[in-house]
């Protein structure tokens, strides 16, 4: 086992031990096509030799660009086998972004899925002096292209097979030259700030992390996984490549990006990963379709979903539940939960992960209450994904769990999460400054996230550390954490909280016109505009209820208790990108909001209970106008921190 220290070596071993077991699948021409581990070894071998025959040398980079396709995954193993480094790039990036990655990575070879990708590469080829050969998987539309330096995947493999007939032991010898601390892959971080950085991970990084996580979660050789997230993203590399090779399970590639949901149902994965947005979309689709059902079905659905909400989570965590609920839950399984899970493609899920950003507790609980074991994890490219995982039976919606096996996590003096693990990256490619900024000499990595451990030893991530401030009494103030908590209520569309270098936390609230409007109609509350609805006493009462809930939540955390919202107001207008208050992707522009509503902020930090304000607004046609309003300000009781009711 110990000499299987690279992926190509592992592949040779899998081709022996799991020869006839499926390794990878792809839906093509409407039928799932399967390659066994022994098939994969032959494909990789032919491709690797073909690359060498085309001039690929040890240390060369092979850029890989396309949707999740078996041939592209084989490209990774093939490059590694002959001492090269695969560099997957995001398939949807435009030519300019691709130019940066290909040039920075100094890729000499590119493995591209189809014409779309080849076109992009040809567009930038002149500006990537090192880039030479392009191999494409799908020849469609490419026949009339100038074929110099442009090769069909199958031709390269044929060349490779020829090459192997003359150099019989070449492949094995090359594979045996590989070492565990060789660079296995370079993954470019998407880089929300500045240029992308190329994270270099070694075979050891990925192999050890994969082994540890497989052991921790009890993953087996018979898992079913759908590979549908970008190949350039570390998560896909670990789940669809690393763990698949180590555990020997089969990975299925969807027919096209548009058929993912359908293919998901056909495959019925047992192990599944999705960012919160995908779980949210699936839930919304289900709910909308449910509203179209007959009243009897709808009644049954809502009744049994209430049962699930009450009992499902506890049953999943193995806690005690009254017998009556247990029986109802069993009935629900037959009538609702089972069929529902089947519709979503989640019938067989044993383990699901979500990560990337905070998931709304309602969405999270919805899936868990159906008996779908989704858990949050916290990770980074630099860590080969895993930093913390929620342990089975101890899943809490607002934490990201305990350190993953082999990972040490601590909180630095200024509240930043730092970790050390066998998965910690080698370095950033050609960027020693960034490497030394992020990784200390003894291997601790700065995440840039602020967080703390709760009383059960679970990590809570609160915000990016640069956004975290302090209240005047010295306690931490994490605006996004509080705002997210508020925004998880569908009636609250936007929230902006203040508190940095202030005595207490105060908040602006934007209600969701549709959700609150609906609520108001059902209560016969008349309103003619957003402004009127927002200033209504009963709406204030409704929002106050939510704010109190958030406060109660905060008070259960000794570190965050001081961040309770003491005063809030409901803004008289919706924050709008046209007025420059939001970015086009709907992120609040804090500084602009603070400037524009200076008067209201002063009022929040005074003892006024009303404030007059006149605001300029931009209409959709570009004309400007102004609204005058008197905004009510409400104060809230401070709740003493209490021990968590468990």
């Amino acid at each position: 086992m110990s000499d299987l220290n690279t992926f190509p070596k592992l592949l040779l071993d899998r081709a022996q031990r799991f020869a006839d077991k499926p390794a990878i699948r792809e839906k093509n021409f409407g039928v799932w096509q399967t390659w066994t581990w022994s098939d994969v070894e032959k494909e990789v071998r032919a491709l690797a030799c073909g690359l060498v025959a085309r001039g690929f040398k040890r240390g060369d980079k092979l850029a890989i660009i396309g949707d999740n396709r078996p041939r592209l995954y084989w490209g990774m193993a093939a490059a590694q086998a002959i001492g090269g480094i695969p560099v997957p790039a995001y398939q949807d990036s435009v030519a300019e972004e691709m130019h940066y990655v290909l040039e920075h990575a100094e890729a000499r070879f590119v493995l591209a899925e189809d014409q779309e990708q080849v076109d992009k590469i040809l567009e930038i080829k002149d500006r990537c002096p090192l880039l030479q050969e392009i191999i494409f998987c799908d020849s469609r539309g490419l026949r009339r292209y100038d074929q110099t330096h442009l090769y069909d995947f199958e031709d390269v493999q044929n060349k490779g097979r020829e090459f192997e007939r003359e150099h019989a032991d070449f492949f094995i010898e090359e594979v045996n030259k590989g070492k565990g601390d060789d660079i296995a892959i370079i993954l470019y971080t998407s880089g929300t700030t500045g240029k992308p950085k190329g994270v270099m991970l070694t075979h050891d990084n990925i192999l050890i992390t994969a082994r540890n996580s497989i052991e921790r979660e009890g993953l087996r050789q018979d898992e079913e996984v759908l590979a549908y997230l970008p190949m350039a993203w570390v998560g896909d590399h670990i789940f669809s490549f690393g763990q698949s090779y180590v555990a020997g399970f089969c990975v299925s590639c969807p027919e096209s990006a548009a058929t993912v949901m359908h293919d998901l149902r056909e495959i019925g994965p047992t192990y599944f990963f999705a960012p919160p947005a995908i779980f949210e979309n699936i839930l919304t689709t289900v709910m909308i379709r449910m509203e179209d059902a007959g009243w009897l079905k709808r009644k049954m659905f809502h009744f049994l979903m209430d049962v699930a909400r009450r009992a499902g989570n506890k049953i999943l965590d193995g806690r005690s539940v009254p017998l009556s609920d247990r029986l109802l839950y069993a009935l629900g399984k037959v009538l609702v939960y089972g069929p529902l899970k089947n519709t979503m493609g989640f019938s067989r899920i044993r383990l699901g992960y979500t990560a990337g950003e905070a998931i709304g507790p309602e969405i999270f609980d919805f899936y868990r209450s159906l008996g779908i074991n989704i858990k949050q994890l916290y990770g980074q490219t630099e860590a080969a994904v895993f930093i913390t995982i929620q342990p089975d039976g101890e899943v809490k919606a607002d934490t990201v769990g305990t350190p993953a096996p082999g990972v040490e996590v601590k909180i630095s003096d200024d509240g930043e999460v730092v970790y050390r693990s066998p998965g910690v990256f080698h370095s950033y490619y050609k960027n020693p400054e960034a490497t030394s900024d992020t990784k200390t000499a003894d291997g601790w990595v700065h995440t840039g996230d602020a967080g703390f451990f709760d009383t059960d030893g679970h990590l809570k991530i609160i915000d990016r550390s640069k956004d975290v401030g302090k209240l005047n009494d010295g306690s931490i103030f994490a605006p996004k954490y509080i705002e997210n908590k508020l925004k998880f209520f569908p009636q609250i569309r936007e929230a902006v909280v203040f508190g940095n270098q202030r005595d207490y936390v105060a908040a602006f609230i934007n209600i969701d016109l549709e959700a609150v409007g609906n609520w108001a109609e059902r209560r016969n509350i008349a309103y003619a505009s957003y402004q009127e609805l927002a200033s209504h006493k009963e709406v204030y009462d409704l929002v106050q209820g939510y704010v109190e809930k958030v406060n109660r939540d905060l008070s259960s955390d000794t570190k965050l208790a001081a961040s309770q919202i003491r005063r809030f107001l409901i803004l008289h207008k919706e924050l709008d990108a046209d007025d420059g208050e939001l970015t086009r992707t709907r992120k609040v522009r804090r500084r602009i909001v603070a400037d524009k509503y200076q008067r209201l902020i002063s009022a929040l930090y005074s003892d006024q209970d009303r404030c007059d304000i006149e605001t300029e607004v931009t209409f959709e046609d570009g004309r400007k106008g102004s609204i005058k309003a008197q905004v009510e300000i409400r104060g809230l009781e401070y709740l003493e921190p209490l021990a968590k009711a468990s």
Binding site: K27, N28, F29, G30, V31, Q33, S139, R140, G141, R143, R144, E255, S256, A258, T259, H262
Partner: protein
Amino acid sequence: MGTRLDIAGQASTSDATRPILSVSDINLSFGGVKALQGVGFEVRPTEIFSMIGPNGAGKTSMLNVISGFYKPSSGSILFEGLDRTHLSPSAVARLGFARTFQNIALFKGMSTLDNIMSGRLLKMKGNVLTDAIYLGPAKTEELKHREYVEHIIDFLEIQSIRKTPVGRLPYGLQKRVELGRALAMEPKVLLLDEPMAGMNLEEKEDMARFVLDVNEEWGTTIILIEHDMGVVMDISNYVVVLDHGQKISEGPPNRVQNDPVVIRAYLGESE
């Protein structure tokens, strides 16, 4: 992996310069209206041949004459050197002509898959009896055709709507399904009547790419009617211009584009 369709050689004749279709001196009238007057042209194998002209110029009439819907009062049509002037639409289809329509003509209640399968009808050999019990040869045949259709679905990138009733699809996709059905007939000549009409820019670009790819992959000869000049000039090898039922110009796109007669027909007299 699955085999690529490779029937490129089948459609092209040995001598690429010999016309696959020669139309000469076609006259067609509806009562007193002379829709076509002495129109003639030659289409060469594997080329993209476009017919353009202002509204009412007779483009669709010409296409209907070629596909056998209309009987010309005089003139002749030679296909692969043989006289095909007076054939019925179904006979023309059997010769290897397939078409799409200006107004989509699909079975709205049927799925994409079934619509395209219907294009295989002429290729099916079973009889009512074996088909009804779906045994032996009928099953083998169905599977063979299904495989062919799947290649087309893959080619046109419509996997995600395979099982969707066509009536529920947006217009641009319906056009694509219609092209799929025409392709299912394994045509030697594909007649496309305004395949890009009513589409937005992105859909047009997609469709233009599919037309080019069909031509390249299968070597299918394409006769295209289209209003979007940009598209026509971009993808055609040869263009014929009709106006008031008469051919007023022909040649490669760049020549036609600068022909004063054509400019006059489109923009009117400058005086």
